[in-house]
């Protein structure tokens, strides 16, 4: 009788232990998810295949760019956040294709696709070892999500078990109308990025 009871208790303990293992294990998506490499604006963040440094952050109400020789103005109901970054490849030529803007509340904005007609200076960017390149990352975000945000950058969309650079933007002062301090009316993206031939 005692032996049966002991076996039963052992079985229950085993079941409880297995259940504990099951509920405490990381989700499969987390296990094979991207590996974050964190830094601030101005830091060089070193991932597996690329390095990135955010050099400048600008906010604008409108963007201006060239499309087949004519000026195109892109308006938004929110605010444009433009991050100028310098990319460098590590041991191999690589391309960086994906970026997103994660606001303080967790809302995540993908890199805009409204500039897909411009093929130079925006994602995807190909970088070769020893030849760093600058690019602009452009996000269309809600003004409330502009401060304390994180810019996430990776080689490709499903960066499973690969590095993802996470650049913290830090607090951004806001004006009475809710827009970040220093928001310009129009930002001209047809201008070359500092120090890089067009």
């Amino acid at each position: 009788m005692m032996r049966k009871l002991a076996n039963l208790i052992l079985l229950l303990v085993a079941v409880a232990f297995c259940y504990g293992l099951q509920i405490s294990k990381p989700h499969y998506g987390d296990l094979i998810g991207p590996i974050p490499v964190r830094g601030k604006v101005g830091d060089t963040i070193v991932g597996r295949s690329f390095e990135v440094r955010a050099e400048k952050l600008e906010f604008a109400r409108k963007l201006e760019t060239d499309r087949f020789g004519e000026t195109k103005v892109l308006t938004t109901g929110g605010v444009w956040a433009v991050v100028t970054v310098a990319f460098a490849a590590r041991a191999e030529s690589t391309s960086v294709a994906v970026a997103s803007w994660r606001g303080p509340t967790g809302l995540t904005y993908d890199h805009t696709e409204r500039l897909s007609f411009v093929n130079n200076g925006f994602l995807p960017v190909t970088v070769d070892p020893g030849l760093p390149r600058k690019a602009r990352l452009v996000f269309e975000v809600s003004p409330a999500e502009a401060g304390n945000a994180t810019v996430l950058i990776s080689n490709k969309l499903l960066a499973a078990l690969d590095s993802q650079a996470e650049i913290s933007i830090g607090p951004v002062a806001v004006l009475s109308d809710g827009f970040p301090v220093g928001t310009v009316d129009t930002l001209d993206l047809s201008q070359p990025i500092d120090g890089q031939p067009k």
């Binding site: 041991a91 030529s93 070769d128 030849l131 031939p197």
Partner: protein
């Protein structure tokens, strides 16, 4: 046979089987790991250019069913609007087709430049130079329908830092030959 001897026999048999099982685990656990890892190892070896096969200057090497020979490697100096301290490099190959099933054998064809530090450059899209009609890239040659005995002229364009041009060597990897790849030596080697 008394009841006691049966019990004793069972005890002996149980011990023997327990020992056999433990030895069995020694075989089964590594075997399970090997079976589980097989696909991953196969993918790792099949997707990466890991082991070089050196080809002397002027020699051709049988690779992916065809004979590959490096004919030229030169810099295209004097081009404007390029990143500072960079130079376009052209690598020319002459390939005599053996097995014409290029779509299978040349799948995943990758031409690259490797320097002394092991850094690898892939063909660039930043520089586009005019090429003669009979010159193709590795990928376009796959769909050229070339027959056995034909010679293909391949050219790939790279953009490398000036400082790396002294030690770069061209290399070719093909899906059917991975993890091996060809590393071509230059005349000066």
């Amino acid at each position: 046979m008394t009841a006691q001897s049966v019990v004793q026999d069972n005890g002996l048999g149980e011990r023997k089987w327990r020992r056999r099982s433990l030895w069995g685990l020694l075989v089964l656990i590594p075997l399970t790991l090997a079976v589980e890892a097989y696909d991953s190892v196969k993918a790792l070896l099949g997707d990466n250019d890991l082991f070089e096969r050196s080809v002397a200057w002027g020699q051709s090497a049988h690779f992916g069913g065809s004979d590959w020979r490096l004919t030229d490697l030169r810099g295209a100096f004097g081009m404007k609007s390029l990143p500072p301290d960079s130079v376009p490099v052209l690598a020319d190959f002459s390939v005599t087709v053996g097995d014409p099933d290029l779509q299978k054998l040349w799948l995943g064809c990758k031409v690259m430049l490797i320097d002394a530090e092991g850094r690898r450059w892939s063909p660039t899209s930043i520089v586009s130079l005019r090429t003669p009609d009979n010159v193709q890239t590795c990928i376009s040659a796959i769909f050229s329908g070339a027959k056995t005995g034909e010679t293909l002229n391949l050219r790939e364009t790279f953009l490398v830092p000036k400082a790396a041009t002294k030690t770069i060597r061209p290399a070719v990897g093909l899906g059917s030959e991975r993890p091996h790849f060809l590393l071509f030596q230059l005349e000066k080697d």
